[in-house]
Subunit: 393 residues, 2 copies
C-alpha cells in the first residue's frame, strides 16, 4: 500500500435550490470584485446567469463577466481573462458551468497571481505558487474539476491540450444542484458519465498493492454511475439519478478513489487529450473511443487487476484464467459504452485521422519523444501510435 | 434525497514515516508557539514525543506541552490548557494521540479564541465563532476526530459528557501512520473498530430517502472494518489491516458516509455518552454494549433499512419478511462484537448500574426531560431508561 495525501478543502453545497444563496457565500471570502466566467448561451437562456447577477447585487458584490468558454477551453481566452482580471482588480472567480469553464477559471487564477506566461505551468516548465480563489456553480457532471486540483487547457498554437495540477486551484466552494444538469443534451450527459468513470478507472487499473477500502469505494462508484446513466438514457429528468451521477463526478476526481494507489495509469486521458486538441471532440466520448484499444494493448501486463475489475465492476463471471476474465471485462465495458450511445472507436467518434495525423498524435502525446505515459504498461511513442491505430475502427 | 454540505478541509498525510516532517508541516501555518497536547505515557515511552520535539526544534518552532489527557477527556484539563495557551501566547495546537486528545485540543482551541466559559458551547447555550488551528498526529484509530467537526468533553462537575460540533475545529492536517497504532492494547483496538463502525451505522440507520452512492460506500466501509478487525485479532502488527482500519476511521466520521442522508440517528452515541460520563468506560465498548438493545427497541420503526443493513453489511440471507431479516442482522452484528471480544451488554462491559443510576442516566441523556434523541424512533426519557434496562444483561 502506498503513502498518500488526501486534501479536499472544497466546501460542497449539494441539492435543489442550493444556488440561491450564492451571493452570501461569495461574500464569506471577503472579495472586492468577482469575475463571472461561463461558456455558451445555455446559462443565459436558462436564466441562471441573471439569477447569479441578482444574487451578487443583493450581496453588494461588484463583478465583471467573461463568457465564450468552449469545450477543450482555449488558452487565448485564458489570456483575455487574465488581462480583464488585472485591469478590473478581480480577486475572486466564479465559474458557472462544467469542467471547461472551471479549468479556464483556474488557469486565469494562476495567470493573475503568478508572473510570466501561464502556459509555462501547463508545459511543466515551472510551478505556480498561488491561484486566485475560485468558486463553482456546476452545470455539467463530468470533469470533477469542482473539487479537483487539475486544469486542462488547449493551446490553439499547435492545438496541444495540456493539464496542470496543484492544490492552489482547488475550488473554495462548489454549489451542486442536480436540476441544473437536466437540460444537457443526451450525448453530453453520457459523455460526462464516461469521463466520471474514467477518473476512477484510471486510478483503479494500476500496478499497486491497493487498499481494499479504496477498491470497494471505486467499484461501487463505477456500478452506481453505470446504473444511473442507464436510467438517464430514458428519463433524463430523474432527479435522483442526476444527483448520483453528479456526486460521483466529484468523488471520482477529488482524490478519494486514489488513496493508497500508485497514482493510477492516466494513459487513456493523455491519449485522449491529443484527440481533443486536434479534433475538438467531447472529452468523455473521446475516452470511450480510445479506452478499449488501450485496455487490450496493456491487459497482459495487468491481467489480475483487469480480472478484478471484470468481476467486481462489470459483473462478469470469472472464466478460465485471469486473462480470459479480464478480456470479458473489457468487452462488457465496451458493451456498456455502446448501450449509452458512446463510441468505442475513433470512427464511431466521427473522426478518421490519416496515417500522418496518427503519427502526429503520438508525437505530441510523447512530448516529441521526451516522455512515456501509463503505468500498467509504460508506453512510448510507438505504443501510442499502435493504440491510436487500433482505435481507428 | 436530502440536501447536504460536505466540507473536509483537513490535509491527510497517510503512511509509514509520515510523522517525520511534522515540524516543516506545522511551519506552513506560520505559527509562533505550539501547544503539544497528549495523553498518557505511551507516546513518551515509544519515543514519539521526543521525535516530535526534535522535529519542532529543527523547524525552529517554540512550544509548550500539556499531557495527562484521559479517555473521556476532562473539562478541568481543558481549562488548564486554555490558561496555559493564553499565558504562553500559543497559536497552534498539536494533538498527539486519539480522539480524547484531539477533542481536548479542540476544546482548548475554542476556549482560547472565544470569550466566556467554553463549556457553554457543549451545553448548547451559544455558538463558537472561531477555534485555534489544530494539527493531529494520530495514534489511535477510532474517533475520527482527526477529520471531524466534533469534540466531546466530560464535565467532572456532575459527570456529564457533551459534544459540540462546528467546522471551526476541523483539524488543519492529520498525520496518519498506521504503525503508530500497533502497540495499542487489543481491547482498545477493537473498541476503536466498534467506534469507527458506529459512526457510519449512526448515519446509515436512518429514516431518509438515501443516496445509493453513500449507501454502498457505507456498506463497504463496514464490511472492510469487520474483516480487518478480525485480522488484527490474531495479527495486531499487520500493517495493511491497521491501515484499512485507520483510513476507515477518518472516512467514517468526516461526513462522507452521511451525504444525502437525514443526518443520522445518533441515539446510541448519546446513550453511551452518559455511560462514559458516569462510569468512564471505553467509548467503543460502551457503544457495543448498548447498540443491540437500542436496535431491538427501534427496529419496528425502520425494519426495511435494518433489513438492507442485514443483507448488504452482515451478509444475512433475506428470510421471511423484512422484520425477520432485520432481527437476524442485529444478531449477526452482536455475534461479530462477541467475536472481537467486545461486550454486548452493560454487564459484559463490567458495569451494573442500579435502578436509580439507570434513571439518572436517562434523566441526564434527556437533558432532564428537555430533549429527545434519535430519528429512526424518537426517544424520550422513558424510552432511554427502557433501553438502558434492556442493556443490563
Amino acid at each position: 500500500m502506498n503513502q498518500f495525501q488526501y486534501y479536499t478543502p472544497t466546501k460542497v453545497i449539494f441539492g435543489k435550490g442550493t444556488e440561491e444563496n450564492m451571493g452570501a457565500l461569495v461574500q464569506e471570502y471577503g472579495c472586492k470584485k468577482v469575475l463571472v466566467h461561463y461558456g455558451g448561451g445555455s446559462v443565459k437562456r436558462s436564466g441562471l446567469l441573471d439569477r447569479i447577477y441578482q444574487s451578487l447585487d443583493v450581496a453588494g458584490i461588484a463583478y465583471v463577466s467573461l463568457g465564450k468558454v468552449v469545450p477543450n477551453p482555449h488558452l487565448s481566452l485564458v489570456y483575455e481573462g487574465i488581462e480583464l482580471c488585472k485591469r478590473e482588480g478581480v480577486d475572486f472567480i466564479l465559474a458557472v458551468g462544467g469542467g471547461s469553464v472551471i479549468d479556464s477559471a483556474k488557469a486565469i487564477g494562476y495567470g493573475v497571481t503568478n508572473e510570466g506566461d501561464v502556459w509555462d505551468f501547463y508545459e511543466k516548465k515551472r510551478n505556480a505558487s498561488a491561484c486566485l480563489p475560485v468558486g463553482v456553480i456546476l452545470t455539467i457532471a463530468a470533469a470533477g474539476s469542482e473539487m479537483s486540483d487539475s486544469s486542462v487547457i488547449t493551446n490553439e498554437n499547435g492545438w496541444v491540450k495540456r493539464g496542470y495540477s496543484s492544490n492552489y486551484c482547488r475550488p473554495k466552494f462548489a454549489i451542486m444542484n442536480p436540476e441544473l444538469t437536466m437540460t444537457l443534451p443526451q450525448y453530453q450527459t453520457m459523455s460526462g458519465c464516461v469521463d466520471i468513470m474514467m477518473h476512477t478507472m484510471e486510478r483503479y487499473l494500476n500496478h499497486a498493492d491497493n487498499m481494499e477500502l479504496t477498491d470497494g469505494i471505486s467499484e461501487h462508484l463505477l456500478r452506481t454511475v453505470m446504473k444511473n446513466a442507464k436510467i438517464l438514457l430514458n428519463d433524463p429528468e430523474n432527479y435522483d439519478a442526476r444527483a448520483e451521477v453528479m456526486w460521483a463526478g466529484s468523488l471520482s476526481h477529488n482524490g478519494l478513489t486514489g488513496c493508497g494507489t500508485d497514482g493510477g495509469d492516466w494513459a487513456s486521458h493523455q491519449l485522449e487529450h491529443e484527440l481533443g486538441g486536434m479534433f475538438d471532440v467531447a472529452h468523455g466520448a473521446g475516452l470511450a473511443a480510445i479506452w478499449g484499444s488501450w485496455a487490450r494493448y496493456v491487459v497482459d501486463a495487468g491481467a489480475e487487476r483487469f480480472a478484478q475489475f471484470a468481476v467486481n465492476v462489470m459483473g462478469v463471471k470469472a472464466a478460465g484464467d485471469g486473462m480470459q476474465t479480464a478480456l470479458l471485462g473489457i468487452e462488457a465495458m465496451e458493451d456498456f459504452y455502446r448501450f449509452i450511445h458512446m463510441p468505442v472507436s475513433m470512427k464511431e467518434l466521427g473522426i478518421e485521422p490519416t496515417e500522418e495525423q496518427m503519427k502526429e498524435l503520438a508525437r505530441k502525446c510523447s512530448f516529441w519523444g521526451r516522455r512515456t505515459i501509463g503505468c500498467v504498461k509504460v508506453l512510448e511513442e510507438e505504443d501510442m501510435y499502435q493504440i491510436y491505430k487500433k482505435a481507428c475502427n
